[in-house]
Amino acid sequence: MKIQEADAKSLLLAQGLPVPGWEVARTATEARAAAERALAAGAEQVVIKAQVLVGGRGKAGGVKLASSADEAEAVAGRILGMDIKDITVRKVLVAAAADIVKEYYLSAVLDRSARRILLMGSAEGGVEIEQVAVATPEAITYQHADPYLGLLDHQARRLAFAMDLGPHWKAGVAIAKGLVRTMQAHDADLVEINPLAVVREGGAGSGDGSGERLVCLDAKVTLDDSALARHPELEALRDPDEEDPTDQLAREAGISFIKLDGTIGCMVNGAGLAMTTMDLVKRAGGEPANFLDIGGGARADKVAAAMRLILADPKVDAILVNIFGGITRGDEVARGLIEARSLQERDVPMVVRIVGTNFEEAARLLQEAAFETAGSLDEAAAKAVAASGGAAA
């Protein structure tokens, strides 16, 4: 699960990391008030940042500076309601614009290959780390946290020295350790600070030179969905503004669902088989309307929920059900389908293929209920494409 920048910053702050203050505004008026407070506290400018769960906000015009309350209100007004990669901006973050001396990159991520937490740091901050990895791979330094003990002090120090943090190395050590703590405390997959920045404190307006400080200027956190059940505190961070009602239904039913642009609804058990089913639908000349994995051991109620998800898309004119029973039992899926069809309002042609565990009983039930069935997956895909074409014709 992705969470908003402002929420990510809250998690870091709770671990004692240096994150400059911010406010979240839902209207231009709120943004103006927040800007007024920041300017009154000595900021020369404020930054207004769209809160959306996609990258590239800056390029899309979702991050702007303002030098006055009027300007802040105007800028916030333009950003709020803007669409960034199909997501409508409903909130902005307002903060004093930092006086940046130098930008760094620091992140903690779950490294699947090494099976450990990986820390990545770079003196090339403020740009996407993927670009740095391609352009100047030697500019990135890596440290794997100990699999039993987490990030050890000396590992954090080596990271900080390799990042050339200079006099800020101790702050860098504390932040690196804080990222790993954040990751462990909330079961995050990724905790990314970009930029981690040395900023001048006090600003010119305050009249004194004051010091420099290493702070987290931006924050990105993604959470392990498998661990959400044990983190009720994180469920509160789910952003209802950004979640499609269909996505919400899918999540609540425990179904993995991604809406696509085609016409053939797919209901499959297993992610790999679901992708394969989509691949074969496309190969047979059709267009899948969705990716849908009902998961292992799916029962009748899950099948019914999956059916509702698929039919919620008005473009769907055929459904392909492909179940290969293992932990999932074919007869239960068949019963679920029969029940779901009896309740569904829209009549859409359906091709059902159930093989594996308890497939004989499933076949019997489906035959009794006069479902159209298929033997091989290729055949099922072909029949579904034909059905879809037929309806469209």
């Binding site: 699947r112 990545m120 498998s226 088989l273 691949d279 074969l280 998961g295 290969f324 091989s376």
Partner: protein, 294 residues
């Protein structure tokens, strides 16, 4: 021979008195697997599967009493990492963890402990392994198999069954079929399994079933290019038409750079001498094209 599981496997099922554990333990027993023990804390002294399998309070007890050498875990996610630790501590050296939904960070110390002990963990969130005609451990439906000499390795669950069924339907049997699991942190990789097949005298050809995301297939291709030049090899990659950015996490993308796409995987596998199928049903034909005569 076969790999991982076979005629001599003495299996303990952790979580045998649960719904899934009981159902699949029965299927394993029926397939011919030597299910010698079950473990459910607090139910030691009882029996499972209609009195056919004794239940113990701990894996240590099960090992001491029955000589179990392999474990299959159906314990719910909250207790599964500890169940793996218990198995390895009790001296089990081949551990299948079927459980899905285990938080990834929970597995980090567990896979390290497995390495430290010189044990092998397959999974979690894996369907297990079957050596047709000998034994099956896990949840792969026994009906899809046929005895033979092709080794199959996959990180999908049901897609594995699909691929194996296609082979069986075409008259091509398997030495062992292994599902390594699709979780972020797993105990055994494609390369590990390929290395086991490479040493197996009764495996004459290989099938690898991958999917988009991560770089496990690319790494396996690299290993195969070096060590498996002369054996017929075919592969299938799921997700060729999946829209970008929907399944691949940012994490995986950062680390593995350009890899992770279906194209990257297909390219790597083809460069390593794999023939890559467009549908699971094409696997038998490609195997024969690659020179497999079994």
């Amino acid at each position: 021979m076969s790999i991982l599981v076979g005629r001599h496997t003495r299996l303990v099922v952790q979580g045998i008195t649960g719904r899934e554990g009981g159902f699949h333990a029965a299927a394993m027993l029926e397939y011919g697997t030597l299910v010698v023990a079950g473990v459910t804390p607090g139910k030691g002294g009882q029996t499972a599967l209609d009195g056919r399998v004794p239940v113990f309070d701990s894996v240590h007890r099960a090992v001491a009493e029955t000589g179990a050498d392999t474990s299959c875990i159906f314990v719910p996610a909250a207790g599964a990492p500890d169940a793996v630790m218990e198995a390895v501590d009790a001296g089990i050296r081949t551990i299948f963890c079927i459980t899905e939904g285990i938080p990834a960070l929970d597995m980090v110390p567990v896979v390290q402990a497995i390495r430290d002990a010189g044990a092998r963990l397959i999974g979690p969130n894996c369907p297990g392994a079957t050596s047709p005609g000998q034994a099956k451990v896990g949840i792969i439906p026994g009906s899809v198999h046929r005895e033979g000499r092709v080794g199959v390795v996959s990180r999908s669950g049901t897609l594995t069954y699909e691929a194996v069924q296609a082979m069986t339907d075409a008259g091509i049997g398997q030495s062992t079929c292994v599902g390594i699991g699709g979780d972020p942190i797993i105990g055994t990789t494609f390369s590990d399994i390929l290395a086991l097949f490479a040493e197996d005298a009764e495996t004459d050809a290989l099938v690898l079933i991958g999917e988009i995301g991560g770089d496990a297939e690319e790494q396996a291709a690299g290993w195969a290019a070096e060590h498996l030049a002369d054996i017929p090899k075919v592969a299938f990659i799921a997700g060729r038409t999946a829209p970008e950015g929907k399944r691949m996490g940012h994490a995986g993308a950062i680390i593995s750079g350009a890899s992770g796409t279906a194209q990257s995987k297909v390219d790597a596998l083809e460069a390593a001498g794999f023939r890559v199928a467009g549908s699971p049903t094409e696997l038998p034909t490609l195997l024969r094209d690659a020179g497999y005569a079994g």
